[in-house]
Assembly symmetry: C2
């Protein structure tokens, strides 16, 4: 088993979907990543920042899952990062209503000493210069660095983004972002261009259409589980990334064949995440439920054409 | 091996894509279905209609693939159905420039006597009343009836469409059409509603996002092969349906497990269809090429998570 460092936001979210709305609830990329990775009982540490308004019970709930939170800085006089958004009827698009950076504006991540030799580093969506500063603190080159990012940084910090992308092994990005980053419509061509930017592995998330894993000429396609309804998509991409990183950390195997499994685990966990608001479903999730859904993914995708 | 009856258009297409444009070339749903099914060396018959302007060499090229064309009526003084369209840059949408029904306006399909006992019937996209008239001519209830349709008939002949849908076993339809037919956004819920209309099997085609096969609570997901470029999508849906029907006719096995394979064969053949204009790629396709691409589909989708 490998140690896993997770950097990203720990935040308040307020969400509105066609099914209802929430007050401020637990959210943030690192939160969803950590919860997903915790299903593999890995030794993980979240590096983040919150304000004095952040409830101790939220921190406890992470710690209770064996997630180290000594790298979560608490700024007593500050306020926690807050995001509020409203999903449209098709759940594929959303409007951001409020973004209050608060303590995140001055976030200087400090990786705890005992995690600086972690083999796996998961850089959750954040300013790319902040992601890079985490890499700079590692005492040795990690076995695998995974980066998640979004179009916001392509618009506002493209040079910094290119700088950190050079240093990562796996990038997870959605289809529109892959197109924006490369100027290419074909995802195959886009993945090739991203390979040239640094990452040997490119994961393109397509929401309800699943995810593609590219490694040079190799491609793997994991569908999303067809669902009767998506209750709240918030955190699904982070949960996917956390499942991917957690499975890699658990197995310590960074072969392409094993990454296929990591993608399936990521998709499986993400399929639960969207069933309830925020982190609710991920917090109640049992390993029996995960096991059953993995079988559904097998049934969904496996076929038996004999090729001789 | 089962006999296969195919009804649908045999037509002229003129196509414009970002890669170029064609004059009038061979097209039509039954043409693409027949070419795809011919890769399984099944005993198939096309029921259709053309005008006196239709080149004998086109008919010969179908006959040379062992497709019976005795059910293709030739109206000497008439003109062949003509469709012209222009694809947008993303290739996912198109404008119809010209639709000349010509002889198709008075099409009364006549199934050749020796195919009225065919086990498999493929109703290609046509007016639903015409599709029903083919079913009425069968001497016994076929083992499997597959229907393809489109939104045009939902807008203009919904009652007729519901009447024929009642009598089919498999429907192939794209995602937007499934949503239109049922008024449901979720494809899982839409498939359930279509089950209630008659078809025990529902195939929802999602273009570059693959295809879903539903049968009650069972779901199978075949991805589309990620392609560097799509040269011309014309006929891809018909080729998919023809591959599906051809494989079922060849194996005679209508179990859900075997339909998974049929969907993979359909996706495989469709992935070739889009590589060149019109029927060009399908006419040059070899079984070695098909075999190689089936292996790519396996590599693309198969994973090895042990569940005990």
């Amino acid at each position: 088993m490998s140690k896993l460092v997770i950097v990203g936001t720990v935040a308040f979210d307020a969400i509105e979907t066609p099914f209802g709305k929430t007050d401020k609830i637990l959210g943030g990329a690192a939160t969803f990543i950590g919860l997903a990775a915790s299903h593999f009982n890995v030794d993980s540490s979240i590096v983040s920042i919150v304000g004095g308004d952040f409830p101790q019970e939220y921190l406890d709930s992470l710690e209770n899952r064996n997630i180290d939170i000594s790298g979560v800085e608490i700024v007593k006089e500050g306020k926690t990062f807050f995001w509020s958004g409203k999903y449209h009827n098709d759940m594929n698009s959303r409007d951001t209503l409020i973004t209050e950076l608060n303590v995140l504006a001055d976030f200087n991540p400090v990786v705890p000493q005992e995690y600086r030799d972690a083999e796996i580093v998961m850089l959750g969506n954040l300013h790319p210069a902040v992601q890079q500063s985490v890499l700079n603190q590692m005492s040795a080159k990690p076995k695998l660095v995974i980066l998640d990012t979004m179009n916001f940084w392509m618009d506002s910090a493209l040079d910094d983004l290119h700088n950190v992308i050079k240093n990562v092994d796996v990038i997870t990005i959605n289809d529109e972002e892959a197109r924006q980053l490369t100027g290419e419509y074909s995802l195959v061509v886009a993945a090739n261009k991203i390979h040239e930017m640094g990452p040997k592995y490119v994961v393109i998330k397509k929401g309800e259409h699943g995810a593609l894993l590219f490694h040079n000429e190799n491609v793997f396609y994991a569908p999303a589980l067809p669902l009767k309804e998506v209750f709240d998509p918030t955190g699904a991409g982070d949960t996917f990334a956390g499942g991917f990183a957690g499975y890699i950390a658990k197995t310590g195997d960074i072969s392409f064949e094993n990454m296929k499994n990591a993608v399936i685990y990521g998709s499986t966990l993400a399929s639960f995440c969207v069933e309830k608001f925020g982190t609710e479903r991920m917090e109640s999730l049992t390993s029996q439920e995960v096991h059953k859904r993995l079988q559904q993914f097998k049934d969904l995708t496996q076929f038996d054409i004999k090729l001789t």
